[in-house]
Symmetry: none
Subunit: 141 residues, 2 copies
DNA sequence: TCTTCCTTTGACTTTGTTTGACTTTTATAT
DNA sequence: ATATAAAAGTCAAACAAAGTCAAAGGAAGA
């Protein structure tokens, strides 16, 4: 199956990260773009769609001379899991405030979140929260 | 009895799957349509009528450039997670019928169930369904 | 024949990717 | 300090798929 450019760049970056010591790499956007014979913003696109907090990565960059982009796998998953949980709860509270969810619905979901958190690995939790978040987005639309 | 186009496409896909390593194939809708000299949505129709969860297949696709459709035969784990999903849905329907859940609540939860199926392993799914089940028990009490 | 269900088709929608022109930030040389 | 050059960021347009939906067609049974 033919992979898209974005997919190939994604894979490439992931291999680099896997090979790295600290689960993080520092690249130069232009350099990577040249490796793949594409425009630099393609790299930005890949990072923006595939290396997000949602997918367990964090990035940091600097412009100008000696600029760079650092991509790291979030290591303390526990923290990020709690983070996305807090975010999700905040989000649900907002929905409640905006009357997009009833009090009952809000309680129901929080109940699910609470119960689900029990027996899941942090990894699973992140995915669950994302799914619920997604489902809510979908639901209120 | 003359075979319909849909039947022939179905056969074709099944042969491809049978020949594949992982009991799954990745196709491009347009390509397959061209192979059979038909409109792309014909392929969608075949997949929608012959390669469903009920018949033991799961599918996944991506639009846009280099898009694809993946069709896989569900393994035992997937089948059982699908089964627990059905059971859960039956349960939710009962709650709705018993007026223990509102229509909105029912939809919301089904939404979560639906979305969660997307990015989780069947293992995770079963856990999630159990959690939802617990949360519901708790909620209606 | 009539009805019903399945199939076929195509116009339109949505989603995801690629590209490039333009902007902003930063280090370095003057 | 200032100017310059070397990065990365932004954004929207063009393109490339797959999805949706409803209408039209066709076959098989009552």
């Amino acid at each position: 199956m033919k992979k898209s450019l974005a997919d190939r760049i994604e894979q490439y970056i992931k291999v680099l990260i896997a090979r790295s010591e600290e689960n993080q790499i520092i690249i130069q956007r232009l350099e990577l773009a040249e490796t793949f014979c594409c425009v630099p913003s393609q790299v930005t696109y890949v990072i923006g769609t595939r290396f997000t907090e949602k997918t367990g990565y964090s990035t940091e960059s600097r412009r100008g001379g000696k600029g760079y982009i650092r991509i790291s796998m979030m290591d303390d998953e526990e923290i990020s899991s709690d983070l996305s949980k807090r975010e999700l709860i905040v989000f649900i509270d907002k929905l409640l405030a905006a009357k997009l969810l009833s009090k009952n619905e809000e309680e129901l979901i929080k109940n699910i979140i609470l119960h689900s958190s029990q027996n899941m690995s942090s990894d699973q939790r992140i995915q669950l929260y994302n799914s619920i978040r997604f489902a809510l987005d979908d639901f209120i639309r």
